[in-house]
Symmetry: C2
Subunit: 336 residues, 2 copies
DNA sequence: GCAATATATTGGAACTATTCAAAAACGGAC
DNA sequence: GTCCGTTTTTGAATAGTTCCAATATATTGC
């Protein structure tokens, strides 16, 4: 193993001091053109690689942020990362990705680990069951933090997420306008803010239309074939005529279930999903869905975090990215 | 901004030298129990945070690896990350994620950036169009590297990926056994090894069964509604009776297209996908698919990389993770 | 009981690659 | 010779690790 090429070896090669080489590195106007050329030449010749770790020791920024997700296996999160990446790549910042796997203990360990690595800030999708002590712990570590998709506290902390309540409300209103009267909500449990807000929007909108019946069916989201009590409900004497699903994957599963039993989604029964995954536009029937724009959420979260890193403040910002309803075949209307 | 708590302040608080505190930090047996307790107490009291950056300066490992993906928005890659994470989290290693976005120039810039951050190694899914100069550049940076899913050179470099050729062959053989005679391949272009290996397996297996006809239909994979010339082919006087698709997403799109035209996949026409995404088990009809086990690929890649970091060697290892055919309704057999 | 030796523990200082503030060197004009 | 602006260098600072030496304590031999 040959020894590393340091800024010092570059300086020696170019016949200047280490400090001068450092100035060249950072495009300082304080060095003469002639010297700059000589130093750059030496760098090329020796194959110098900048050591950011050493620089970080002196400076205060490391140019890294931490990304704490609770299920890196989910396609929804990859869209989120796409939005984040788009913003940070221009700012010359790099993301360290860790997985809390919905486990608050592991989440805390991973956050500490990120802190040891010196990340400048955190984008955090809190694991279900996180207490709001999490935020004070993060503050104790002096880490700027933006929560995404879920939040642990109604009041404190920065947050960027879709307007779940509004989206769900749009879906229900659309169904009511098209004559559906017995609308169920399928999927999830109110274990975190994202689920609670969906349910709030659902209940509130039903109430507004004087259609109060509590057809809320919990399922295990990690298992797509789990439709909870939906099959029994459908077979009952007073079945629902529409269902709003927690997300598109579940909605596709419901459509598969209906089709396999000879029911045509959109005619016999209305189905609405959420997230607008690409496949929802090409399935049969095509799926009506609440657009939640994960890329937009990611972009906004990254921008907010970068701002908080540059301008530390204790005040909280909350951004709700508003959605819309992408109306397709699965909720009625035009069918082939 | 109060000044940071360093190992030195901890040492002062505990009444020992910095060196002793460092030994406590790393569980050295050289310190007495009594001293250890005092130091740990002081750490808790001051809220000490280990600064890995400073440690990295002297040591040679940083405990980070780089993950260079070409499309972080794709669900397939999130499964890959799941497998990687599973392995590295136990090794106390953290992954920095960057996106090449299928752009070789951007890919190189990102790799250099990772190198500046001092990553110990690289897991790389090379962007389409990468030349094999990429590998020598990475070697020049003294970065151990494992390619995943695709490789830029037939001979050199470590590689872990699914056995695409074998998987495609399994699919074709199954179709032939069930009486299909005119089998098309849908999706992609031979722009990287993963696509080429699929096509090789496809052609070779057709040849084996003396069914040589070149029904290979290129599409733009990023656009699920692009089925290339498939619609025209289907409407022609001699339509195919089966199609093997590049992946499950595309296969689902094909099934949607068929259903919308009154054709039932599995009866009138056989469809096979690849990757075994969760939704393929619950769609209507359920999708027969080539299992590529991205989690397994991730696990193997991470293990190989960790080994190469600890035992640097120039020899290349290639691991093909073998797949199987998950037989469901879309290719015939039992239908409701 | 004392010196010699062994062992456990701790401290000092060098080392890592960079940044930064302050000082110095240099050249030209007056 | 002094003043001034530009360019360059010096040396301290950053927060750890690690080698080597020093000290304190324990054990052994005589």
């Amino acid at each position: 193993m040959k020894k590393a090429v340091t800024l010092n070896s570059v300086a020696v090669e170019a016949g200047v001091s280490r400090a001068t080489a450092s100035l060249v590195l950072r495009d300082s106007p304080l060095v003469s053109l002639e010297t700059r050329d000589r130093v750059i030449c030496a760098m090329d010749k020796l194959g110098y690689i900048y050591n950011r770790g050493a620089a970080n020791l002196r400076g205060q920024k490391t140019g890294t942020i931490g990304l704490v997700l609770c299920d890196i296996g989910s396609p929804f999160y990859s869209q989120l990362m796409l939005g984040i990446d788009e913003v940070i790549v221009d700012a010359n910042i790099v993301a360290i990705l860790v997985n809390s796997a919905e486990n608050p203990d592991r989440q805390l360990r991973q956050i500490r680990r990120l802190r040891e690595h010196g990340v400048d800030g955190l984008i955090l999708c809190p694991a279900a069951g996180s207490s709001d002590a999490l935020l004070s712990e993060i503050e104790r570590l002096h880490l700027p933090c933006v929560q995404v998709l879920r939040h642990v506290s109604q009041r404190n902390g920065n947050y960027v997420g879709p307007d779940y309540a509004d989206g769900t409300s749009l879906a229900v209103t659309h169904l009511v306008r098209h004559g559906r009267r017995k609308i169920a909500f399928l999927g999830g449990r109110p274990v975190h803010s994202a689920a609670r807000e969906r349910l709030d929007g659902f209940r509130k909108t039903l109430k507004k239309h004087k259609l109060e019946h509590d057809l809320i069916i919990p399922t295990h989201l990690e298992n797509l074939s789990d439709l909870g009590s939906f099959p029994e409900l459908l077979a009952s004497s007073t079945p629902p005529d529409a269902v709003v699903c927690y997300n598109d994957m579940l909605a596709q599963s419901v459509m598969g279930y209906l089709l396999a039993r000879g029911k045509m989604p959109g005619r016999d029964f209305a189905v609405i999903g959420a997230d607008d995954l690409p496949q929802s536009a090409v399935s049969f029937p095509t799926l009506t869905t609440i657009v939640t724009d994960p890329v937009g959420v990611g972009r906004n979260a990254a921008r907010l975090l970068l701002d908080r890193i540059d301008n530390p403040t204790t005040s909280s910002t909350r951004i709700l990215v508003s959605g819309q309803l992408m109306i397709r075949q699965s909720c009625g209307g035009q069918l082939p």
